[in-house]
């Protein structure tokens, strides 16, 4: 689960082959005296090693991106501001299966100026580019899921740049504080701990796409979700001999509410608040976790994962096959978009007959 534990794979053979290819290709093209701007990463920090580089309008440069990190990255230069940057990233994360073959570059021709391929650890790619004629700040980012929150920088276009600020290197300050970022890269991860402004019995689940949630393991519903990086678990682990740990972990992204804010299921009567008991959860590799609990003694399994669109969650319920009374699910539909695989709505209540309640899916989300 903890990224710093992993050894860093070094695909050195691939890397040297690539460099050889690069050398050969440079022999075949006419030599143009042009500036090279090199960008790599701060390994393990989810950061580019360059915060800003400056070009003059219309300048021809070769931008070389080297992935010296332990996970996949790309580098995308865009036209727009920080909000545009996040929008590009979100579109990239929503591409699903098509993302890989399209290098995690969404179809946004008005905004995307340049991009590298998605690079495996140890790989390198370069772009020969001509700087825009218009002065200004052009953001660059990595569009792999969740990376853009911290993997970002500015390509500054300026007629008379300050010579000593052509390349501003990133400074790693992460070791100075107690931050210890837990970030899912390939599969969901779970962390139980106290969390700021959360229930004491919490199960936090993070997904590579940047949608995360906190499940209340006492009341058995999603307490809140958040969008962005997963957790700073420094307060829980403690980072040195003087820190006792055991403190509330920090949610790193932007929180969103979801669902009822209380246990949403009712058996038989909508009015009767049921007795719920948490029974644990299952985790299997790359699959989303499945929570288990009893509702008035009836066994329920609920798999929770990011919604297929928007910002929100998809809940797949499997209920006790012995259920005889109808099941009611509450959700404030004035606040959320809800899609249910079965049942009939009456205001904010979805009612499912026992025969369709054995397996059903609800997606509760908001537009980004």
């Amino acid at each position: 689960m903890i990224a710093p534990m992993k050894s860093i794979p070094k695909n050195t053979r691939w890397c040297s082959l690539f460099l050889l290819a690069l050398a050969v290709s440079s022999l075949c093209t006419p030599a143009v005296a042009q500036r090279v701007v090199s960008v790599s990463t701060l390994p393990g920090k989810m950061r580019f090693d360059v915060d800003q580089f400056t070009l003059t309008p219309g300048e021809k440069v070769r931008l070389v991106f080297t992935n010296n990190d332990e996970m996949l990255h790309n580098l995308v230069v865009i036209r727009g501001d920080e909000a545009t940057s996040l929008a590009v990233a979100q579109r990239a994360w929503a591409m699903g299966a098509a993302a890989a073959e399209r290098q995690f570059v969404p179809d946004m021709p008005d905004h995307i100026l340049h991009h590298t391929k998605v690079l495996e650890p140890g790989q390198q790619d370069s772009i020969d580019l001509v700087a825009p004629k218009v002065e200004g700040s052009y953001p660059y980012l990595c569009t792999l899921p969740g990376h853009a929150f911290s993997m970002k920088g500015i390509m500054l276009v300026k007629a008379n740049p300050e010579p000593d600020k052509l390349v501003v290197k990133a400074v790693d300050k992460s070791e100075e504080g107690s931050a210890f970022v837990l970030q899912p890269h390939h599969h969901p991860i779970i962390k139980r701990a106290f969390v700021e402004n959360g229930p004491p019995r919490s199960v936090m689940v993070g997904f590579p796409g940047g949608i995360n949630f906190c499940f209340d393991a006492e009341s058995c519903f999603v307490s809140f979700g958040w969008f962005g990086p997963f957790l700073d678990i420094g307060p829980d682990w403690g980072r040195n001999a003087n820190q006792r740990g055991g403190g509330p972990v920090k949610v790193l992204g932007e929180r969103f509410t979801t669902g009822a804010g209380r246990f949403p299921l009712r058996i038989g009567s909508k009015e009767l608040t049921p007795q719920v008991h948490f029974k644990g959860y299952q985790v299997r590799g790359e699959q989303a976790p499945t929570f288990e609990y009893t509702v008035n003694g009836a066994w329920f399994m609920e798999t929770i994962e990011p919604a297929e669109k928007g910002i929100g969650l998809k809940h797949t319920f499997k209920s006790d096959p012995g259920l005889v009374a109808p099941l009611h699910f509450y959700c404030d539909r004035s606040q959320y978009l809800v899609e249910a695989s079965a049942g009939d709505w009456d205001g904010n209540w979805l009612t499912l007959d026992p025969e369709v309640a054995t397996t059903f899916t609800l997606q509760i989300y908001q537009e980004p």
Binding site: M1, P4, M5, K6, S7, I189, I190, K191, R192, A193, F194, P200, R201, S202, A217, E218, D236, W237, G238, N240, A241, N242, Q243, R244, G245, G246, G247, P248, F278, K279, G280, Y281, Q282, V283, R284
Partner: protein, 495 residues
């Protein structure tokens, strides 16, 4: 795990410990070795258990469970909330752990070596975000019932996680009750039924069970605890810290502040053994019984327990006097690399010592770790084997014959006694410290026993120091002090 009151004390005492114990000091024949933990693993030990195949399970404060054998380390479970105890079934290999919020069974259903089902067995106790609400474990009786202990909540401003919790306290004691069953031990049946078992615990950082199914726990010095203690857990017993009584049916609706300290004293069962705060231990952990059949030397059936602050191991011998356990404590090994919280014997009688120093500035150079203590199966250490009571006075037993001239000389003994005050204030001085005189010494068993004839007082802790004592073979005692907690005198039975 414990708390200090004056912050300055933390610094001063921590520094002095570091200076005092830079090298391992162990009895002859005992070898301390350090287990290499691979780079990248944070192993703030919270629980240790062996399975029947000799695989060591290590649970951590960081919420993980590691399996270790030889030089192999495998992550078995992850992402839990501070795992401070574990039980592994010796036949079925089933694994249960104590997390802060619940007792959990870990199931590796697909057999890939990694738990995939985290089954909640019981979560009946209250939990707030209060920093100090630890849950410790884990032992299991022959009927399959689990036992664990629940820490009280901390009332100090800034330390409690949140001000929204109303922390019930008694007579202004610093620890209290923010949620149900804080300060209780509990039993959970195999079916998951939770029963609060005994109450009056403060910071019950370690629990252990002997081969007869008797359960003991250690409690840390603080309010209502004049010094750290070893106590036996029996159903319904009141161990002395009163805020837990808020969850006792007999005290519903009653004002616990209207009950006097003296009345609480009458209700409580006094501890079996006091650890000597400052001299021996500041925050003792898991008591483990030497049931190795002699593979760990001459201390069969005695208890080994470590200290989280001083990074030492101690040894305890118990006897039943007037129906209750009491006994003596000795230092055993000093100079371990980090704070000792958990101990387990492997099948060869090697003691595995689980360590964490994070947050309390333990003695030693490491912030966490794992060490082993092994007896060489040959050397008889020069130690006081046990101290017991006879109607005439203390009987000292040794691991080997002592120099009989020294043993018979009252000049060789320095004995003093004191009381640890039962009170809501934090800790206790050694109150009423008094020198004791030996009237006569009788030797027996070829110089392996000495009976110190002397009058004895109940409710006192006796410190017995054997200044220049040597074995007949010449060697000095490695640990020449013993402390006996004398709750009751022995009237006529024999030690």
């Amino acid at each position: 795990m414990r708390l200090f009151y004056p912050y300055m004390l933390i610094l001063i005492s921590a520094l002095s410990f570091v200076n005092a114990f830079t090298a391992v000091k162990a009895p002859a024949g005992y070898l301390v070795e350090t287990v290499t933990i691979p780079e990248g693993i944070t192993l703030g030990v919270g629980g240790l258990a062996f399975d029947q195949h000799g695989v060591l399970y290590v649970t951590t404060r960081e919420g993980q469970v590691w399996r270790h054998k030889g030089d192999q380390w495998q992550l078995f479970a992850d992402g839990m909330h501070e795992v401070l105890g574990i039980y592994v079934d010796q036949v079925s290999d089933e694994v249960w752990v104590m997390q802060r919020p619940e007792l959990t069974k870990l199931i590796d259903q697909d057999g890939d070596g990694r738990a995939d089902i985290y089954r909640t067995v019981s979560a009946e106790w209250g939990l707030t975000d209060n920093y100090h609400e630890y849950a410790f474990g884990l032992v299991r009786d022959q009927d399959g019932n689990f036992y664990g202990t629940l820490n009280t909540s901390l009332s100090w401003a800034g330390w409690a996680g949140s001000s929204k919790w109303d922390i019930g306290r008694v007579h202004d004691g610093k620890m209290g009750r923010a949620a149900r069953y804080r300060g209780w031990s509990f039993r959970v049946t195999p079916q998951g039924e939770f029963t609060p078992w005994s109450m009056g615990m403060r910071s019950p950082a370690g629990i252990g069970m002997n081969r007869h199914g008797e359960i003991f726990y250690t409690d840390n010095q603080g309010d209502w605890n004049g010094s750290s203690t070893l106590q036996q857990i029996t159903k319904g017993r009141f161990h002395g810290h009163p805020s837990s009584l808020m969850d006792h049916p007999d005290f519903q609706g009653k004002d616990l502040n209207a009950i006097s300290v003296e009345d609480y004293r009458q209700m409580r069962t006094p501890p079996s053994v006091f650890f000597i705060h400052g001299d021996l231990a500041n925050s003792p952990g898991e008591p483990v019984f030497d049931e190795t059949g002699g593979q760990f030397g001459p201390f069969e059936d005695q208890i080994f327990v470590g200290d989280q602050t001083r990074s030492n191991l101690m040894r305890i011998c118990l006897e039943k006097v007037q129906g209750q356990y009491q006994g003596a404590i000795f230092n055993f090994i000093d100079g371990l690399q980090s704070g000792v919280v958990r101990n387990q014997f492997d099948s060869q009688g090697t003691l595995y010592v689980g360590q964490t120093g994070r947050g309390w500035r333990s003695a030693g150079e490491k912030i966490f770790g794992l060490q082993t203590v092994r007896w060489d199966h040959q050397t008889t250490p020069v130690e006081i084997l046990a101290i017991g009571l006879t109607p005439e006075g203390f009987e000292l037993r040794f691991t080997q014959p002592m120099d009989s001239q020294l043993l018979a000389s009252t000049e060789q003994y320095a004995i003093e006694h004191w009381e640890y005050l039962y009170r809501p204030e934090y800790g206790s001085p050694k109150a009423g410290k008094t020198q004791a005189q030996i009237e006569k010494i009788t030797l027996s068993h070829g110089g392996m026993r000495a009976l110190l004839h002397m009058p004895l007082l109940e409710g006192r802790v006796y410190q017995i120091q054997l200044k220049g004592m040597r074995a007949a073979s010449g060697g000095p005692l490695t640990n020449p002090m013993g402390w006996y907690t004398l709750n009751k005198r022995r009237l006529n039975e024999r030690f």
